[in-house]
Amino acid sequence: MYTTLFISSISLGSFYTLIALGFALIYGVTRYFNLAHGELLVLAGYVAYWTWKSWSWPFLLTFPVAVAVMLPVCFGLQRIFARIREPRELNSIVLSFGVAILIQNGMLLCFKGDYRLIRVPILNQGYHFGSFYISYAQLTLLLLSLTAIGCLYLLMQHTYVGKALRATIQDKEAAALAGINVAVMGTIAFGLGAVLIGLAGPLYGCIHYLYPSGGHEATLLAITITIFAGVGRLRGIILAGWIMGLAESLAVVFWGASWREMVSALILLTLLALRPHGIFGREGT
């Protein structure tokens, strides 16, 4: 039982990492808290749902569609963010809270409030490996999330753009002095964020029911993981995602499914009260 629990938490945790990465990247590079992150995720899920349902495209083809829709949305969002005044962090929170309300109600207007799920029959089957069992849904989550995270990791560590992004995350002004175009880095961060959301959205739609106000929980999760890891710590985010997955699975097993929502809130509050710079973070970074 514990191996199964462990496998499901790791696969869920990897998915949580995927969700949080877009948020963390945007926050790290631009210092804008995007509270509409979860709503964007649900929106991507809806896009995938409609391409899958009304055009009956295969599930895998919904990913490029979701990414293609998310890119202009995120660039539009960046244009709005770029106009806010000091104090930027706080104003970005209020602004994106407004964006979240806007997207939520827009989805309610377009898709109605019904619960929707992308049903891919093959994902319900599973694979027996000796004594433990992994369902194809978990396997897909694990593989796709880890692939995406791996690609991002390679991009961040082994390319010039990645280096510039990391420099911007560490110190915006010093990066600008070194000749890095910080504004372009912001655009790249939003673009990468859009790709990550576009990848996570369809997956979200097939393991979770889609409904317009469902994004709130994902936002909270992304904030918690980002703060947990500390700003701009990619490896820390993976670990934080796994810990969140494990914590939620344990909460479900020991207390019941309805207490799960409280886990990320409790962890976030504890973190903010005790270690606002994150478990892996250092003060002043």
């Binding site: 929170i93 209020v94 602004l95 939520q104 207007l109 106000s213 909270l220 207490w259 929502e261 903010l272």
Partner: protein, 336 residues
């Protein structure tokens, strides 16, 4: 020259005060004008109730903090008062203040947790904080009836003053006047608070906390006091809501809606003004109900998101803060 500026300022503020008086008188006379239309009266009653939420939110807002989680206090007040009157047999007149006190206790708890947090991190903490009373209410079936919610909450009982006998719960007009009086009292209290030393201290804390502390202002105490009062009155408004609407459930009472409403009204109206949030509530909520609800029955609340975005981008001082130039409270933006 200075006298001239002083006079224009006086005129403007007189105009503002006169305008507010006009609005208040119009609202007082409203039930006489729309006698046969309960719907309009109901909408304005809700608008006034939401104005009290915005006023209460703004007590904290004046200290410079932004809360995304006032639904925690709203829900706690609503639930406490509803349960006390439904299951413990208290009269709403006792249950409502007790609901307020529970919400205030919750506010102090939040204050303790968020003691060291400022600005953006405080806002994030409030966002997470809502989940705790929400999930507890949702799961503690024995006490709160769980996720099914509460139906048949007792309405506000009749009020006897001498020979007068006002049946508040039964008539929409009486309910309307009840909320009107509550809103008026809260407006008076908030106006008084911000003209008192507390208001000056808050202004100092907001502008530069370390400088304020070096002047001997104990920022933590003032901040806690703000949170206490803000949560208390939000709880009272929540309790009134429960007894007026007579139905609540966790997803509604602790929902993002009641966190957003005071925030949107306060920021659009003018975060550092007394009157702004009230005016924004009185303009935006009826606009939502009369114009946007018939047009877009499903997602009409996108209006709140849109005005919030516009306010942050183009009018950070809010409607009242921009147009009235009420210098008492808008120093932050007047320096430019």
């Amino acid at each position: 020259m200075t006298t001239e500026i002083f006079l224009t300022r006086l005129k403007r503020s007189q105009f503002g005060r006169g305008g507010l008086m006009l609005v208040l008188v119009a609202l007082f006379l409203l039930p006489l004008v729309v006698r046969h239309n309960d719907y309009i009266l109901h909408v304005f009653m809700q608008a006034l109730l939401f104005a009290t939420l915005a006023l209460a939110w703004n007590i904290l807002g004046m200290s410079g903090a932004i809360s995304l989680g006032h639904a925690a206090f709203f829900g706690a007040g609503a639930y406490a008062s509803a349960l006390l009157s439904l299951d413990a047999g208290f009269t709403p007149w006792v249950a409502i203040p007790l609901g307020g006190l529970l919400a205030a206790g919750l506010g102090l708890t939040m204050g303790l947790i968020c003691m060291r947090l400022r600005g953006a991190y405080f806002a994030l903490a409030t966002l997470a904080f809502v989940e705790i009373p929400k999930v507890i209410t949702d799961n503690w079936d024995g006490l709160t009836h769980g996720s099914l919610g509460l139906v048949g909450i007792p309405g506000l009982p009749a009020l006897r003053i001498g020979a007068w006998h006002i049946n508040i719960g039964d008539s929409i007009t009486a309910s309307y006047y009840f909320v009107y009086v509550y809103a008026l009292l809260l407006l008076g209290l908030v106006a008084f608070l911000f003209r008192s030393n507390l208001g000056l201290a808050l202004q100092a804390i907001r502008e530069e906390e370390s400088a304020a502390e070096s002047l001997g202002i104990q920022a933590d105490i003032y901040r806690s006091l703000c949170l206490f009062l803000s949560a208390f009155f939000t709880g009272i408004s929540g309790a009134c809501y429960a007894h007026l609407v007579r139905y609540i459930e966790p997803g509604l009472a602790y929902g993002i809606h009641f966190s957003a409403i005071p925030l949107v009204f306060a920021i659009c109206g003018g975060r550092f003004t007394v009157i702004g949030p009230v005016l924004a509530a009185l303009i935006l909520y009826p606009m939502d109900q009369f114009v946007f609800h018939p047009l877009f029955p499903a997602g009409h609340e996108f209006l709140y998101g849109a005005v919030l975005i516009l306010a942050v981008l183009f009018m950070p001082a809010g409607l009242w803060g921009t147009f009235s130039r009420n210098r008492d409270f808008c120093t932050l933006y007047d320096k430019k």
